[in-house]
Amino acid sequence: MTAAVSKNLKDMTFEDFCRTVFDTTKRFEKPETLKGVRVVSTTQYILGPSCANYLAELGAETIKIELPKRGEPMRHTTPFNEPFLYPLSRWMPDKGTGLGFFGANANEYFLSLDFHKPEAIQIMKRLAAKTDVFCENYRAGTFDRWGIGYRQHAEVNPRTIYQWMGGFGGWGPGRNRASYDILGQAQGGCFSITGWHKEYGGMPSKQTIWIMDYWGGAISAFNIIACLYWRDNVSNKGNFLEYSQVHGAQRHLTDFISLYGKTGVVAQRFGNWEPLLCVHGILKCGKSSYPNSKNPFRFRLQGRGLREPVQSDQPSGSCQEVPDPLRQGGGRCAERHLPRAREVGGGQDERAGMGRVQESRARLPACVELQGGLRTGALPSPWKPCLDRRPDLRRRPDAGGPGPHVRNTSSRLLGLQAVRRGQRVHPGEAVRLQRFAHRRAGEERDHLKKRKGGYDDI
């Protein structure tokens, strides 16, 4: 940063200063925080992949290893089986990739390895010597049994940081139990304090997002960066870390646990009210359906029977005292409970509900052009670090299927020079090269056209 600009920064107003230093369009001009750190992620679903993804967003070189053919299960996970992103992969000729996959796999290189083959184990062992961080979420002890767990990696490379993530952890009475995000929420206690009380007609409710997975990934990523810090600055030693999903849930129960310990009180659900603060809750507001209301709330029937609120002429002024975003939660959008509601028009502004969110969406590369011409809103970054430096995310478009980076990564890291398009690397089919564009290009294009046409008609 030049001296002139620096001087300027000191004189400008604080808001302008923030606008300048956090300018998200300048992202790619700043260095990446974790550049040079190599992460190998043998994970599926959300918990593990999101952890590796946060590291990748901060600039680590992240290699994701999936099973060949179908890839990881999140690729087949998409709301109501409706939206899929293309290109069609060789292994899923009729489907693209489900949207569930894209929140936790950006910026990564994709390999496919079949761990049932001895060659795959050899490759993992060779990777161990050159890898800083392993993220893994197979059943506890599985990798250890296969000879590619922490204990074996640490012999080759004592600086390895190995993060295991999963449901109940590798030890203790529940160690053999399987887990998912909502099991963490349910059995960890988060359900029991969310939603309205039974007397108010409510029941324990899910936090709508896969929160225990995404948050668990975040806290694991924090721990990994802390361990990298310790390794590089203090000890030169690696680490074995374990994150248990149900444990994360208890971390969130903060005061409820202390209160139970002190008084035996079992925390209850209070819906949208907050027992700690008054007035502090989510109230229905905005347009009103009372007779003679200044701000009426009308409906009209839209195609497919959707109930769409009609925009009133008057601004929704009756909730001026209440912070804006609540309007979104309690007002208009609340009435849409059917999927695939299309905006009536000019809806962008109102949906975002909150200028800042809206702006931060606009600041980002709002749409990433993916293969196949479909557009997806890019996920925004929660950090906006500043100045001429940036531990910050940037997104490369996700690759299409499991394994497109086989050639690049395997030859660069493992010296597997023999990898050529369409040629098997090992007799045991350990590494399969995914044949991408060339041979099937024509075929896929045709298919895509058909599919797209069909899609738009829906």
């Binding site: 808001e15 923030c18 606008r19 925080t33 974790l34 709301p79 109501f80 089986n81 939206p83 949207l99 506890a140 139990r177 887990s179 998912y180 909502i182 349910a186 059995q187 960890g188 206690g189 359900f191 029991s192 969310t194 029941m203 409710s205 899910k206 936090q207 975040a218 924090f222 361990c227 810090y229 310790w230 203090v234 074995f240 248990s244 149900v246 969130h252 129960l253 903060t254 005061d255 646990i257 209160l259 139970y260 310990g261 002190k262 209070f270 949208n272 027992p275 603060l277 609540l326 979104q328 939660g329 609340a334 999927p339 800042r356 809103g377 996920l379 970054s381 950090w383 906006k384 430096r389």
Partner: protein, 475 residues
């Protein structure tokens, strides 16, 4: 009089057993009957990471000094808890008189507060985020206060604040001024809606603003057709998620400072954006075809079976959308009700994993499933599903969570015997690790308890000077 009636007469006396009411299982009980080869790994992990050995191990962030200048919001305290659990020296800089969060207690009941040895009362929410932190007071509005803060800054690695946007800058202790004193300082601002942008100055600094801001509340709870409303999370989700992201951003900045940058930087993280990052596929879906993700209650739009459904004594979670688990789930159901298994497994529309996702398919699945669960308790459902190795578990209430053998055995909850507050049950650090585990050393401090220690150590103040500052309302 009314007060007396409310607090003393009406409430029944509850005899509270000390926690744990049932002792946790012993190692022998847990591994009884498991053959050597199978338990080898578990025993190794256990010996490597068990919390009872924590005190012998180093701490990864030992030597870092964090000033947590936030007040009245959980996000900053939650963020600095990450650092304090891993060994950084975290100093809470509270306004004189203490952080207003100290006074928060459910329904304003004083008997739910924790009393320190000196008689000071503190709410549980604040106390659980005061772990391992020192507490000093400082009035940054005064000139002396600002000078005092500036004199400490050269010895600080990370400063966290959540004042109104630009307020610290106006006071002369913002990033622009402090980075001149200490270029290696990482300066983190946390909040709900950011320091810039059209809504930066709007009122609303608490968690529901963050939760409501990005569609979380809109998506949580049952759909209107099921009698539901948009619902907030019972814990302070936006603050706690945003706080973790803030910690990650700040930690990455510290890592970069040591690795190649040589200087600190300004980092901003808001609760709303933390949750925006992790709100599943909402943006992608909206970008594709304008869809707004609907509320879907305790079911999941993208996975079937993956839901919490009612059973005889509460609710039971069952999960497993993919073929391997799908058929196991129905096998478990079929042991009692073969006709239900047959109904599902013979349905050609439910054969392919993605074909099960549309709404009407989910309705069919869960209607059939509830036909089985309605007669069974959570424990019975869990048992038959776990025999098939399916992820399942009952919805647990707080007492069940605190007494769950697995959590007790693994130390997810622990009793911390604190010099100030006595024995307090607390959710333990979730950083489990072999070499550098997270740990809880003390629960928290009373307001300004470490004033003397910290100001003597970092600012070189003597007794007279401290007295003068105290008299002037600076500390």
């Amino acid at each position: 009089m009314a007060e007396k009636w409310r607090t003393e007469k009406k409430r029944p006396k509850i005899k509270v057993l000390p926690w744990p009411a049932i002792p946790p299982p012993t190692v022998d009980e847990v591994y009884a009957g498991v053959d050597e080869k199978k338990k080898g790994y578990s025993l190794w992990v256990e010996s490597a990471v068990r919390q009872q050995f924590n005190a012998d191990k180093p701490e990864s962030l030992d030597g870092l000094r964090v000033l947590d200048c936030t007040a009245n919001q959980v996000i900053g305290h939650w963020c600095s808890s990450h650092f304090s659990e891993l060994g950084a020296e975290v100093i809470m800089v509270e306004p004189t008189g203490g952080d207003p969060l100290r006074k928060l207690t459910p329904f304003g009941r004083e008997e739910y507060m924790f009393t320190a040895a000196n008689g000071e009362k503190c709410g549980a929410r604040f106390l659980s985020e005061a772990r391992n932190k020192l507490s000093i007071t400082l009035n940054v509005e005064t000139k002396e206060g600002q000078d005092l803060l500036k004199s400490i800054i050269p010895q600080v690695d990370l400063l966290i604040e959540n004042a109104a946007p630009g307020h610290y800058d106006k006071l002369g202790i913002g990033y622009r001024q402090l980075s001149e004193i200490n270029p290696r300082l990482v300066y983190l601002w946390v909040g709900e809606r950011g320091q810039w942008g059209p809504l930066k100055d709007q009122p609303g600094a608490m968690d529901p603003v963050g939760q409501g801001a990005m569609g979380f509340i809109h998506g949580t709870g049952a759909p209107v057709a099921f009698g539901g409303t948009p619902t907030r999370s019972g814990w302070w989700l936006a603050d706690q998620v945003g706080g973790t992201f803030a910690a990650m951003g700040a930690m990455a900045a510290l890592f970069a400072r040591e690795k190649f940058l040589g200087k600190g930087q300004f980092v901003e993280c808001t609760a709303a954006e933390g949750v925006m990052r992790i709100i599943d596929y909402n943006w992608g879906w909206h970008g594709m075809d304008g869809s707004v993700r609907p509320r879907y209650g305790n079911w999941d739009l993208a996975i079937n079976i993956y839901a919490v459904n009612p059973c005889a004594d509460g609710q039971i979670m069952v999960g497993g959308g993919h073929d391997r688990l799908w058929f196991r789930i129905w096998r478990a159901v079929g042991k009692d009700r073969p006709e239900l298994e047959q109904h599902i497994c013979e349905d050609p529309k439910l054969r392919v994993v993605t074909d099960r996702l549309p709404h009407y398919m989910q309705v069919e699945t869960y209607t059939t499933m509830c036909d089985w669960t309605k007669d069974k308790t959570r424990a019975q459902c869990e048992k038959s599903l776990q025999e098939e190795e399916v992820a399942s578990g009952g919805v647990s209430f707080l007492d069940e969570v605190c007494e769950f053998p697995h959590y007790k055995y693994r130390g997810h909850l622990e009793i911390c015997d604190d010099t100030n507050y006595g024995k307090v049950l607390i959710g333990a650090s979730s950083f489990i690790g072999m070499n550098t585990p997270g740990r809880i050393k003390w629960i928290g401090r009373t307001v300004g308890q470490d004033n003397e220690d910290v100001y003597r150590r970092l600012a070189g103040l003597d007794r007279e000077r401290l007295k003068a500052l105290r008299k002037g309302g600076v500390i």
